[in-house]
Subunit: 135 residues, 2 copies
């Protein structure tokens, strides 16, 4: 992995993290490709930047209102000159509602760029880390 | 997306599906890159072909003994000449044990190839589709 790849991966995660913590659905959707795929912790999949932005605004305004999310890149792989894969870890604190409490997840992000343009998220796939059996 | 990309994506899913249904951990692991990332439905992440093969053999011999899995590609995107992204849907039937029953999931697969070599799985990320709220 090059320094530049790691930097690009971390930069996009930071954009998403900041957008989440600002409860700004449009900013969250902005780095996604127009036809991006998003799979959430309920296994639901959504397609397209606009839908991803709108869906996030809806959860920022309801079950995740006031929540704080922290993203960390665990693995960044450069699969081609213009394609990155990032394995990330999220720590989410939701103060109220049905998801109140602390949640951890592992997520995969696939990023690509066209020449001379910035990295875009083609796919984001999230899975909640389950409590240990019997725990 | 080219025909060839779709064909490659479907071919790899078929290899994984056949390996699962043959309860053959080594065959399941075979298409993975040496340093591949696997995130399972519990949000646990494993790294490397050998560990992925071994981990699957363990579940094929225990909680998923006798299970039947069907994989379907919903989206195949060619992100670069030698990088593919596949969004898939799995339908799993487990006859016995703690996971007895039918389960559906959405999974993301990232594939790449080096020149003149076959496609390898760099990342596989799986999320169980949750039942509808209150359902």
């Amino acid at each position: 992995m090059t320094e530049a790849a790691a930097e690009a991966g971390n930069r996009v995660l930071k954009l998403l993290e900041d957008a989440w913590n600002d409860a700004d659905g449009e900013a969250f959707g902005a780095p996604f490709a127009e036809d991006a795929v998003f799979v959430n912790i309920r296994g639901e999949h959504h397609t397209g930047r606009t839908g991803i932005a709108r869906g996030h605004q809806a959860i920022f305004d309801s079950i995740y209102k006031g929540s704080v999310n922290r993203y960390e890149a665990l693995v960044v792989k450069q699969l081609a000159e213009n394609v990155l894969y990032v394995l990330g870890h999220a720590t989410l604190h939701a103060p109220t509602g049905p998801m109140a409490g602390d949640h951890e997840s592992h997520f995969s992000v696939v990023l690509s760029r066209r020449e001379a343009s910035d990295w875009q998220v083609d796919a984001f796939h999230n899975t909640l880390i389950a409590p240990p059996p019997g725990g």
